[in-house]
Symmetry: C2
Subunit: 327 residues, 2 copies
């Protein structure tokens, strides 16, 4: 059963990198309304904890989104990032932003790497917009950035579509291809099957593979550890699992699992008790709950569960009937 | 990798049985102070949901525990059970109690099966009290009950001890041997390795194997699904994961995973919104939290995390330092 396992519970793979997506995925919960102090504390926490990459938001197109309605981390203008993090930046940790296909103009809005504090651009795409994603990847790569591509909602894709997508991306300049369980619907058995497909493509085309999990069925951490054991190189996590809907793989769980002495859970515990607890006390709500279980189980987008949460409903039985009518 | 997997995501194994441990493990959270109405509603919910066995409490020795300090489900006197459930009992679902080695007198307190509403006795033992557990197993078997043995805290046992324990139990009258992750410390990779040892013993001695997981690292459901895929026959779960400390594998997650049309999540959703929500509103506290993650990660008993919870502490960093001093 374990013939594909890379490493044991005692060893570690130095090629594994941890990416903190708290501001980016967590920003979907609070419209990116993080204080500068929070983001600075998080930066220093990540640095001390050994986190390899910190994703600080989206590169959203200001022509499509009203800047007055969101915090600055949805747009990540170069000067805005520098004014908050400029004096802290260390070569020990990369800074990343996410650019959604159809919602970002990387050709216009992203400076050349030599003029930017950013190191990495992560292109988020659905499987039917791969050609547009590749155009964005090539633009970012030409500008000098590390690039990832995050194929969202892969639980909805046919195997044949995924094979074609991986082949197209394999021939692009992208460095890292992410398996994204957007709906938190995949069981470990399914994740392992998908992981094998991604790793085969990675080997064939010389790409590294990453995992971005959601916690609808309390499987984000388990699925992330499975991918790590099978040979994935990039593992996404967020503080206290903060992220859209049910949230992500919790950083505090992941750092406990990883055996590389580079990683240290203690600064994360301090950040949880001081900064994350404050967010929770302020009424920001995310994380596993029955409504997210149900959208995950039915392999549906979590938007209905987010609305259920916002309406403070608890009638799970009726909600489940509503979801089944959406099938 | 999947050569040992029994079944696919679409098929099901009819030999898989689901055991609801809400009253027994959840009773550790509220001193078994469930209302009769709650227990009756739970019985009917389990029956409608297709649950195979309902565990209704402990057979605690009244000479060791003060009956005025606990609800009746800690003692499970025959007349007490009958007065609450007698008119509901259906042959479709078995009733079980747990008897702890050293804390129960099954010879004296357990009636013969022909005089009892109970079907199954689960003997809970640490690995160093297996001979006493076997004596209890034989007593219960002679009285006519189905029996399980639950080897607790297996994450602390040496492989050689476990081999010996499984061999001894294999030669006893016990029908089902449980893998119990008492501290919620085992990762899926470790669970699979242990599962293989239990399954080998089960095959050799003709015993069925079960899993009882705890959710300290949000792995209870994942580990339960792994055991199910590998060939375990008995899967423990509780409503809303209610159980000591971080709780158990949630019934609502497990029934979503199982493909046998016998199981139905809908009655469970009703019970969650009506009865479990009431417990939560009344201030009963359990479930995954950072303090449980930390005891799980360090493979320690959750008692310190339970105290941390009861004291409403949130200083995770200091707590972690305290735990490391206990190592």
């Amino acid at each position: 059963m374990n013939d594909s396992i890379k490493g044991t519970m005692m060893s570690y793979r130095p090629d594994i990198k941890v990416l903190d997506a708290t501001i980016r995925d967590g920003g979907l919960v609070n419209n990116f309304a993080f204080t500068d102090e929070f983001v600075r504390n998080l930066y220093q926490t990540n640095l001390r904890a050994g986190v390899d990459v910190m994703e600080i938001g989206y590169l959203a197109d200001p022509e499509l989104f009203d800047e007055s309605k969101f915090g600055k981390w949805k747009f990540c203008h170069e000067d805005a990032i520098r004014s908050v993090l400029g004096d802290l930046v260390s070569p020990e940790m990369q800074l990343a932003v996410m650019a959604d296909v159809g919602r970002a103009n990387v050709a216009r809005d992203l400076p050349d790497k030599q003029d930017s504090i950013l190191d990495m651009v992560r292109i988020a795409t659905y499987i039917n917009t791969i050609p547009a994603a590749i155009e964005m990847i090539e633009t970012c790569a030409r500008k000098g950035y590390h690039t990832t591509v995050n194929i969202m909602a892969v639980s909805k894709a046919k195997e044949s579509e995924l094979e074609e997508a991986l082949a197209l991306l394999g021939q692009s300049s992208v460095e890292i291809i992410y398996l994204v369980d957007s709906y938190g619907s995949l069981y470990p058995l399914q994740i392992r099957d998908l992981a094998k497909r991604y790793l085969e493509a990675g080997e064939k085309y010389g790409k590294k593979i990453g995992i971005h999990a959601h916690n609808n069925q309390q499987l984000a951490f388990a699925n992330t550890t499975e991918c790590a054991m099978l040979g994935f190189s990039y593992l996404d996590a967020t503080m206290a699992a903060m992220g859209r809907g049910a949230g992500n793989c919790a950083m505090e769980l992941l750092l406990g699992f990883l055996k590389n002495p580079r990683y240290d859970i203690k600064p994360v515990l301090r950040f949880l008790q001081d900064d994350m607890q404050k967010l929770i006390n302020d009424g920001v709500v995310w994380g596993y709950d029955i409504q997210y279980l149900l959208t995950g189980y039915l392999n549906q987008h979590p938007r209905t569960a987010i609305a259920f949460t916002n309406e403070k409903r608890q009638d799970y039985f009726t909600f489940f009937q509503e979801l089944q009518e959406n099938e």
